[in-house]
Symmetry: C2
Subunit: 139 residues, 2 copies
Amino acid sequence: MRSAEEWAVGEILRAGEHLNGRLNEVLKPFGVSFTQYTALRIVRDGEEGIASSSIGERMHTRDSDVTRLVDRLIGRGLVERSRDAADRRIVRVRLTEQGTELIERLDAPVLALMAKSFAGVKAKRVRRLIEVLGHLRGA
Amino acid sequence: MRSAEEWAVGEILRAGEHLNGRLNEVLKPFGVSFTQYTALRIVRDGEEGIASSSIGERMHTRDSDVTRLVDRLIGRGLVERSRDAADRRIVRVRLTEQGTELIERLDAPVLALMAKSFAGVKAKRVRRLIEVLGHLRGA
DNA sequence: TGACGATATTCGTTTTAACCATTATCCTGG
DNA sequence: CCAGGATAATGGTTAAAACGAATATCGTCA
């Protein structure tokens, strides 16, 4: 005896799990975890070098854990740290050349995954879906 | 210079991360990880006791890891194992009373989270979104 | 029956996530 | 100047995920 709402929630969760699984398959050959991929994307989006604390906010992660996540990315040569000149408390993180190259190489299969996932869905529907998803973050 | 597709992919990923984060906040007070919650839902859906291997298939997890995931759930008294009478190789997993009670107590806040997330979105759009998400798993 | 495939467990390892307390460094306002 | 807040890093712990190898048990079919 399940309500329509519960069914809907189940659908959403299952879709999320499914996408997540597929995404991990794409990422695995590159030796990047989903968390690391997320961090790399955040760093890329923060054009002028993003503050560690900002990464933590976007990822709902403690500062100390951001430090170590960034440590790992540095260990792989994907990212680098530098002190902010104006406020030396702040550490800015930016992609290295290697990191830029890696995330760009990832774009293709990730895009392909999405394209495949939404194959057969009308473009207008996809656009609406994205609108709704955007709304979701605000709520 | 980002294409519209890349932007869309970013939106989808960010929405997923956001939802995941919120969900974890909901789950944390109950001491259940997202993975465990997923497993509990799968067990609940497999009415007559689900085979361990089936859990692994749905979660893209190795058998040996399913065993230990189930071990942990048993440790919390949420789930129990039993041999299939017909084919004794198969181990069936089902919710205990405690497990049933827990997942039912989780339904409310999870539903509330979703309701809040989709507040302001027309019901029809939500239905369409769910249609599209369902389609996603098939592709 | 007996070999093989299916199902699950056990053991061991490595990596990461999540949490917390403490320390270090730096900025700012009074 | 300096006290207190902001920002990170360090160190330590626990639990989990992810992977692989080996073992145990059971069913089926040739």
